[in-house]
Amino acid sequence: MAKRDTPMLDELLKGPYPSFVKELYKVQERKPMVQDLLGQLEDSYEERIGHWKHGGIVGVMGYGGGVIGRYSDLQDKYPNVAHFHTMRVNQPAAWFYTSDILRKIADIWEKHGSGLTNMHGSTGDMVLLGTTTDELEPTFQALAKEGFDLGGSGSVLRTPSCCVGPARCEWACYDTLKLCYDFTQEYQDELHRPFFPYKFKFKFSGCPNDCVASIARSDMSIIGTWKDDIQIDQAAVAEYAKAGMDIQADVIDICPSKCMKYDGEGIEVDNHECVHCMHCINVMPKALAPGKERGATILLGAKAPIMDGALLASVLVPFIDLNDPDEVEDLHELIGNIWDFWGEHGKNRERIGELIQRVGMSTFLEAIGLEPEPEMISAPRDNPYIFFKEEEDEEEEE
């Protein structure tokens, strides 16, 4: 087949940043599917509209998620992308690979699909972009033989993801890779089979810098933090000063809770006032470090706008020690309670954050068995519409 003429896309071969068009060009000689993708994409660029249809449930046997069905609406013109389904493949925690396993995945996708991928998709999966319905099951089994499984899509637990954590970061306040892996294994059924009103995401960040955007993007956000004092190496503080850092301006004055002092010799922190924002530690990584009593804050309810507006996650459990197996067990129990309540009361396509907005946080806390705590709010209510409950013991008196 002749190569497609793509003058508009060719404009995107120019310039210093890596070009996705160049990636399509790399495989098009041997992949008629990619030639048709280039043709259809060029049409989209000329006409300023996409040419993909959704609909039609496709997948692998026994799973309700992991494959996104996609079909061209220009099938006569571009028959090789009549089917162009995506497979989401559950990434290894923190996206570590060896060249050996990447070559095996490349060979599988060379054989069964378009040869195009996203490393990675927004939720964290390795995304294999474009294949036909017939190839889904063989691809899945070829990947499974290498130890890989599909990720989530639709109304399931979506593929959990985590930051680089203790593998390569001194700020990790818990083992994000381990927790992410353990949770993913624990909830395989929920990941592959739709039980929920809508999607549910876990994201694991090792510190409040939140490198996987868990507070904005996950229904349950697990963000590392610490309870005790920031660790200070005063000799290293002096080194920073000697090297020309303006510690007063760049660190002390910017501290959001104004809990730090610097007298030209050393740094002093009023740790009970610290809000654990990370700024001072970010700026002086050789001199300052999170404390030793480490754990995480659990937040709930973040989501993008659809349907009822975007939400950031809010505090559910101010501090949990994730090294304590009993506390981790309690967290799983809490998750079970949350899913039970959501399953019973959630409307179709209602995320947990929206359900909480609808029924009220107090009702939700009571249902999942958590006591209200002042850390859960930025301020108490400023309206007087209090839904008082009749005191239970009054009835006893009667």
Binding site: L9, S99, I101, D107, L129, Y181, A216, I306, A310
Partner: protein
Amino acid sequence: MAEAPADRITDVGPPHYERFLPPIIKANYGKWKYHEILKPGIMVHVGESGDKLFTVRAASPRLISVDTIRVFADIAEKYCDGHLRFTSRNNVEFLLTEEANIEPLIADITKEGFPVGGTGSGLSNIVHTQGWVHCHSSATDASGIVKSVMDELFPYFQEKRLPAKTRIALACCLNMCGAVHCSDIAILGVHQRPPRIDDKNISKMCEIPTTISSCPTGAIRTADKDGMKTVEVSEDLCMFCANCYTVCPSMQLNDPDTDGISIWVGGKVSNAISEPKFSKLAIPFIPNNPPRWPEVVDAVKNIIEVYAANARKYERIGDWIERIGWPKFFKLTGIEFTRYHIDDFKHAGWTYKRSTHLKF
């Protein structure tokens, strides 16, 4: 349905990450002491043991071919005993123990078309969605705009510095698979007209009650048109979110003449200094202008340059705007303030100015 073969593998989950960790990471796991950015794109992490792990971070278009995956594998084998990873912003990172290998690795990966950078107070890769490459509801392309913006702002990916780290994200419709709602700069595809209903086929293609309940504003009602069971949309209530189209293909929303891009600013996810916050509307609409979207590129560049010239050290875009005030942001950037900037969705009053703290 065909019976599953006896040796079929399911529910194994992802491979254990330890399979892929380099020995230096296994030896120093949880025992890193500090890290430094040696130059843009190059980091060293130093363990309590004194071990040094070097990282070379290179840009990626996110959409990569198996050929490129093999190139990354070649380079990882040549310099890193085969060890590499990817980042949450789709960059590739090579993990080295030999400092002497850094420069040759940079030369090799640059020659392959993947420049090194993306660390610290500058731009990293743009998190983005599928766009016209693979999405049914996109109001714009994703990869083409990302490429065009990053070409123009390329110096900030490498040596040129900004007051603080600056994170750009792009989502090609309100579904926000790229969750752009907490980015320093968000490029968001928007539709402007209500769905066009395929009256003839909707009752066969879609579950009508599900379609009706999918609408966040209750704009969809059942209707009977010439005996056909269909729906109608109240145009006054439609906010063009495409939620109905996602559950029902007979509610086509894409339109070449009215689809385009909006620009949002000042969001962040990190807790550093200030609390995480949403991005807010800067520019309600820019028409699609492929292949290189010059108006979008100029708009983003303008915001970056005004921010670079005016913000204080360590101030993210949102923190800078909160300090100077939104009126000044619009004045400094020359962006027109319109009726669309004033929220009129639920709880809109939270964004009204509720004090006399004004600057003149």
